[in-house]
Symmetry: C2
Subunit: 191 residues, 2 copies
């Protein structure tokens, strides 16, 4: 079956992507985010800044802002978070906000009531065009990835997302990460 | 490959099993637990009563007590809970408390400081001797179980636990449940 193909696994904690407009309301006109950490996907970073998610009488504090700005704000949480907020949140791929519920974002300078934008972001495999070509994969393919650990899991039907802006990495959320006893540096294997 | 073998999946939220002694301290001498729900495993039940787990400045409230009494108290939490409590908790099979950390239990009548007993309970497949025989499985076998869903997972290396006290069911914790979008009534398939 040829060589074993291994991929870096990255676990994404809950976070928000903000529009320029919403960032202005939450942090003040023209506010620029300080970089906390460059992420694996080129140009993406986690900001030093955090906000609070509020949903009726429930809230989650210290939710990290990711940059750069997007056209529309998007909140990515786990299913555990969704249950804690008592919010019915659909599983979606990033950018597909159709039918997603809203939530209130609270920052140091103001609050924004989103009409939509809260999703559970589906697992996905990022790849550049070169990497995808080398692995024989194309955008939209579904692959199975085994994460070896004492709580080993094979994640089935993981969507491949190919772009010249991407770099090879398997992204999972914190439910997935805790279920498979994720540790920094762990490699998944295409099966 | 013969017929498809399907197994009921049950998701266990965090809970505690108590010794008679610890129950006396937490709820009062000779206290008997009211049954909230009979569980699938014969004789096991969730009680109406709940306690609080306290670990330094962190706590988790409303943790369900399970009956009947055990020789030694045991606290089963998810990895998400362990991170929230900032407690280093090993993955163990129920009953193996060697090297597990302690925690403080708080009930309506008192508190108990356990020296050990907190575990992340490993996934397992319960089966009676008859059921195991019919499936060609024996106690201690490792099997792989696929849970079909929009976030499909194959759980690898699930230990088979056979006893005349058991009934066929695949037990997972809430990290696993949320990772695979568990819904009541879902069936896993032996692969």
């Amino acid at each position: 079956m040829g060589e074993k193909i291994q991929v870096k696994v990255e676990a994404s904690n809950r976070h928000v992507h903000l529009s320029r407009h919403d960032a202005d309301v939450l942090f003040g006109e023209g506010y620029e985010f300080g970089v906390h950490k460059e992420l694996s996907q080129p140009g993406q970073f986690s900001a030093q800044d955090r906000i609070t998610l509020v949903c009726e009488d429930r809230k989650i504090e210290n939710v990290r802002v990711l940059g750069p700005f997007r056209d529309e704000s998007q909140v990515e949480i786990s299913r555990t978070d969704a249950f804690n907020l008592k919010l019915n949140v659909p599983l979606k791929h990033s950018g597909d906000l159709e039918g997603s519920p809203g939530i209130t974002l609270v920052g140091p300078k103001g609050r924004v009531k989103l009409d939509r934008g809260v999703i559970i972001s589906h697992r996905h495999l990022h790849a550049s065009e070169d990497e995808a070509g080398r692995l024989g994969l194309k955008h939209g393919d579904l692959v199975n990835l085994r994460v070896p650990s004492i709580k080993e899991i094979i994640f089935n039907n993981v969507m491949v997302r190919v772009s010249s802006d991407y770099k090879l990495a398997f992204h999972i959320d914190f439910d997935d990460a805790n279920a498979c006893f994720f540790e920094e540096g762990i490699l998944a294997e295409l099966v």
